[in-house]
C-alpha cells in the first residue's frame, strides 16, 4: 500500500492511512526525499493519526524518514500521535529524538510556517 503524498504550497503532506509494512515506509522515505527535491519543498508533515500502534520498528522507520527529509532541507513534523499510542511509546521507552511533533495537521503546518526563514515563500 503506497502512502498518498499531497502537496500544499511548499509543504508535502503524507498521511499514513493504516498499519503499514516496513517496505511501505521505506518507499515513503524514498518518495518524500525525492519530492522534496523536485518540488523544492521547505516542509514535510507526516500524519500518523490513523495508527493505533507505534512499536519500536515503526518508530525507528518514522524517525529515519523524518531525519532524511530534514537533512534534505525540509522542516519535518510528525503529527497526530494518538494519546494511547503516546502513552504506550513512553512505556516502551521510545523517543523521536530531534524530530518535531505537533498535535494535528493544522498545528504541524503552522509550526512549519512559523519556522520558515524570512523572505522565503
Amino acid at each position: 500500500m503506497t502512502v498518498p503524498i499531497l502537496r500544499q504550497g511548499p509543504v508535502l503532506i503524507a498521511s499514513i492511512q493504516a498499519a503499514m509494512t516496513d517496505l511501505d515506509l521505506m518507499q515513503l522515505k524514498d518518495e518524500l526525499s525525492t519530492r522534496v527535491g523536485s518540488h523544492r519543498s521547505t516542509g514535510v508533515v507526516i500524519d500518523v493519526s490513523a495508527l493505533d500502534v507505534m512499536d519500536s520498528f515503526a518508530t525507528r522507520m518514522l524517525r529515519g524518514i523524518a531525519q532524511t527529509t530534514q537533512l534534505r532541507g525540509a522542516h519535518t513534523v510528525i503529527v497526530g500521535i494518538q494519546p494511547d499510542v503516546a502513552f504506550a511509546m513512553v512505556q516502551l521507552g521510545l523517543r523521536l529524538d530531534d524530530v518535531s511533533t505537533a498535535l494535528d495537521l493544522e498545528e504541524g503546518l503552522e509550526l512549519i510556517a512559523d519556522n520558515r526563514p524570512e523572505g522565503r515563500q
Binding site: T21, D52, D55, S56, F57, D84, Q91, L92, G93, L94
Partner: protein
C-alpha cells in the same frame, strides 16, 4: 488458580501484515473481557513487538491469544512461538538498547514493561517461546 478460559486464537506470523493481524486480534480479545483505552494500546504494542521479532529474526512462528481467569479476575495470555535460531544470551536481549537488527533494541524489554508477566525461553537452534499476560485492573 489461573485457568485458561478460552481456546486460543492462533495467528501465524510470517510477514509484516501478520504482525498487524496479531495485534488487531489481541486488541479484539482484550476489549472483549473489559480492557479499555490505554491498556488496549499497551497490549497491542506488546504483541506488535514480539510478532515483529518473529518476522525479523525467526522468519516464521505463531502467536496464540487466549483469555485467562483467576476467580473474578480476567486477563489475556499471549504465547509467541517460533522455530528460529533462538537467542544465545537471553539476559543480553532483555537489556534496553541491545539490538542486532532493525529495531531500537527496546522491543523485548519494552514488551515486558507493558505486560504484567513476561517469560522468555529460548534454545539456540530450537527456537524461542515468549509467554506474557496482563490482567484487567
Amino acid at each position: 488458580m489461573t485457568e485458561v478460559a478460552t481456546e486460543p486464537a492462533r495467528v501465524s506470523i510470517e510477514r509484516d501484515a501478520d504482525v498487524v493481524n496479531a495485534r488487531q486480534k489481541g486488541r479484539e480479545i482484550a476489549s472483549g473481557i473489559g480492557f479499555r483505552g490505554s491498556d488496549l494500546a499497551l497490549i497491542a504494542t506488546a504483541i506488535s513487538e514480539i510478532a515483529r521479532n518473529i518476522v525479523v529474526y525467526a522468519e516464521r512462528g505463531e502467536i496464540a491469544l487466549s483469555t485467562v481467569a483467576d476467580g473474578d479476575r480476567h486477563g489475556v495470555l499471549i504465547v509467541a512461538q517460533d522455530q528460529g535460531p533462538g537467542i544465545a544470551d537471553v539476559e543480553q536481549v532483555m537489556r534496553d538498547g541491545f539490538s542486532t537488527g532493525r529495531s531500537l533494541g527496546l522491543g523485548l524489554p519494552g514488551a515486558r514493561r507493558l505486560m504484567d508477566t513476561f517469560e522468555i525461553v529460548s534454545d539456540v537452534g530450537v527456537g524461542t517461546t515468549i509467554t506474557m499476560s496482563k490482567w484487567v485492573r
